[in-house]
Symmetry: C2
Subunit: 543 residues, 2 copies
Amino acid sequence: MLLGRMMNFPLTVTHFLRRAKDYFPGSEIVSRATDKSLHRSTYSAFYGRACRLANALKKLGVKQGDRVATLCWNHQPHLEAYFGVPAMGAVVHTLNLRLHPSEIGYIANHAEDKVVIVDRSLLPLFEKFAETVRSIEKVIVVGDPHSQAPVSGAYLDYETLLAAEPDTFDFPNLDENAAAMICYTSGTTGNPKGVVYSHRSTVLHALVASLPDELGVRQADTVLPVVPMFHAAAWGLPYMAVGAGAKIVFPGPHLDPASLLDLMAAEKATIAGGVPTIWIGILALLDKDPKKWDLSSIRAMVIGGSAAPATMIEGFQTRHGLEVLHAWGMTETNPLGTVARVKHHLTKLSAEDQLRVRATQGYAAPFVEVRHTDDSGNVLPWNGESMGELEVRGPWVAASYFGGEGSDKFTADGWFKTGDVVTIDKEGYVKITDRAKDVIKSGGEWISSVALENALMSHPAVLEAAVFAAKHAKWDERPVAAIVLKEGQTATKEDLTTHIESRFAKFWLPEDYVFLNQIPRTSTGKFLKSKLRDEHGEILLKK
Amino acid sequence: MLLGRMMNFPLTVTHFLRRAKDYFPGSEIVSRATDKSLHRSTYSAFYGRACRLANALKKLGVKQGDRVATLCWNHQPHLEAYFGVPAMGAVVHTLNLRLHPSEIGYIANHAEDKVVIVDRSLLPLFEKFAETVRSIEKVIVVGDPHSQAPVSGAYLDYETLLAAEPDTFDFPNLDENAAAMICYTSGTTGNPKGVVYSHRSTVLHALVASLPDELGVRQADTVLPVVPMFHAAAWGLPYMAVGAGAKIVFPGPHLDPASLLDLMAAEKATIAGGVPTIWIGILALLDKDPKKWDLSSIRAMVIGGSAAPATMIEGFQTRHGLEVLHAWGMTETNPLGTVARVKHHLTKLSAEDQLRVRATQGYAAPFVEVRHTDDSGNVLPWNGESMGELEVRGPWVAASYFGGEGSDKFTADGWFKTGDVVTIDKEGYVKITDRAKDVIKSGGEWISSVALENALMSHPAVLEAAVFAAKHAKWDERPVAAIVLKEGQTATKEDLTTHIESRFAKFWLPEDYVFLNQIPRTSTGKFLKSKLRDEHGEILLKK
């Protein structure tokens, strides 16, 4: 083998940080506080503060490889941790504040967090599990305009610590394979598992996710990460934005539709990213009051985290002229795997057919490779029909979990088993039909709950629909649909079946319906079908 | 140190090739032959042919690390070599057909090329040096519609070889640091030197150069690489285009302005890249006949290879509505280093001031780092005034040359010395003022020949201007301008000085002028100032 003779220049987050200072000192960072006030800063100040944080942590004894946890909403200090901690060689661990305190404690213990940076408003949550985490040596509290009282003696104040330090730091030369971040899966099955992102995976992910056919983040953008920064490195948006020099707007804890719309309009956001639940709420509010907000600056609303219904994508586009960009990923994939861009030759299709393409999970980003397999591990054809478990590999896909747990998620030939059941069509568009654990097997045939849900959600009276497997004496399992109706709307079981029956084989149609006020959800906003099965799974047996 | 736990998935050209087949089988590749006929193909066929080439080369005894040279114009078989050769583990070496045959022979010997792929039309050139290259074992001839006679017994026919092989290949798993390509510098000083690109550098370069703020190549694009594929991996455009799944149009040997304009219009090119000479010719032709070609599909004309005059950038924009994107790079930088994008906050400037920004070499792409130093190696401030030699580093910057030559081009602290003399302003925009070897030192003060040239070229009668250092009894060196006037136009020395004198200190103004029919150029189209100095360098002493 002949080796290349190019520089061994590591792909580290540190480069993005230096680039922010050198090229984009005036780029703006806007953070909304708990009292809804807006705080404006610049990349220049951000760089200095990230250096101050690194100095402060070093003084507190944080060494290369040590874990520094955050328990924070989306705001500038969280961004400072995203960059300052990895750039000094330590590892930032984003704790998911939506989990049960005992789970957060489990995760902090498992990761052996040494320092925790906590929002003042989240101290009551922190104190519910703090004592169970033996590894924590220091707690740093990020201020809150709502509650200015000094923090107690046991806690350190973020601003006081930073003020005492110089605004430069002699960043170490790091191995690009060194850990930069740890994010835990939400653990709907078994204990949460830690995914350890390297500098290399974080950088490569940010670069590829910024490509024009992926999210296409550029310097002129104003990026609004609605997705909480404790999820899957907030989809890489903080790294993409800083790498490009874009303006960043953080919503703080205010994730209700009206607050988000106010912020998007006031700050002229061009790209925002969040889970479907967020966008469903926003669409409903926009439909009520379509002229209230000027959203002409928006060029892409990125939806990921779980499958977005086609009716929502269409609703934004036809009723409000807003472009939804549907993407798929997981904590284990840093997270971007696929984006539903319409390929050039498909732009000749009818609007309806293009919507069908845009409602898939999309095709793989460069350097992500996908395949799907049946129960015996056979690789399935890309025919748009064969359903199998999606497997992925690539430079930003986990090779194992922290501590070596969950090794059954990785195949012998080097692929990660996503747990998503999908079809892949001949163009390579991936379409999720189910989570593997939520698959409905009726008389040996697989029925896609996601396809049924999308069809049901196209009924004008339906706000949300979640289809789950109910036990059945003859067919083993049959689909049952949990329905949340829109305020003031009505629909009978018969109405719903009539609405969708032309689109499916007869045996696919829901065997029954349950009408609920809300669908139970996981901490990341996904339907919690195990709970639906626990509560309603025997509904057909009782009849 | 804690290591990340992400997959060790190598960054290789092979991934782009697989992606081409899996996701973009129908994307088009158009090649113009020597007889000007257009040949249409698809990525699907391209993939199969790249596999056939790999099989054929393997059968000919090509092993991992072996060099396979090309002596070809831009066309699909050249693209097949760009991908098939590195994907099988060998190294593609692009020979520059514009060099003197003895130089090409030197280079082929130096690289120890084992197989050469030659255009039929270039066989006469090849035969001028072939016998001097002891390492060549096989010669493969790419057909030519102009001359269908079978190739002689000593040569192999490209199409015959491919036809005999299967259209799949079991590509090896490669180390991302393995060599993928060798490109030689044009060697205006000393012998040409080999730059050995790795798979990693090639891939990272293609990804970053495709970002929205760099060249922004996307799937919907039609990419026309005017820059010959024997230059600096043709700026990465072939890798960027295939990686994105874009349509590609190859001009073959027809690089005259009319042929290029015909092709751009007929194939609806969206992005084209070439050196300033090409664009100067195109602009002149467009000015003569502005309505002849419909160029509405074009969104960016990338200019690199040497500095583009501001008047040209402005001419395209104001007279033809065409956007020029000015970029800087070298063979040693794969080549993209900087792109002259106007930062968002600078779009508030006047059109004139924005033009000034767009006429710089731009600011560094992500993961390229730049600095400039004085004669003693001191790093200079970014003030837009201090002139010094540009130094760069990054994952696609050479760490050394093949064979270890030219070690004086690399600093002890890991930077590559570009030989370009530049200023860098506070925004980070780099502006070339000279090649280090062409700097004019008048009484100890540095004078920028490039600034004078740009000013002179804004005179309506001037087609081209090259300013060089002439010996001077008192001041050591003084600037003298070589001028090529436009056809049918006249201008006196006094006219020229009057035109530019308000823009410069008096001592910067050219001491004299020489009027020429053409400026001597290097094989890559750059002004050959050493020849101007040889022929006219003593003009001031004789007076």
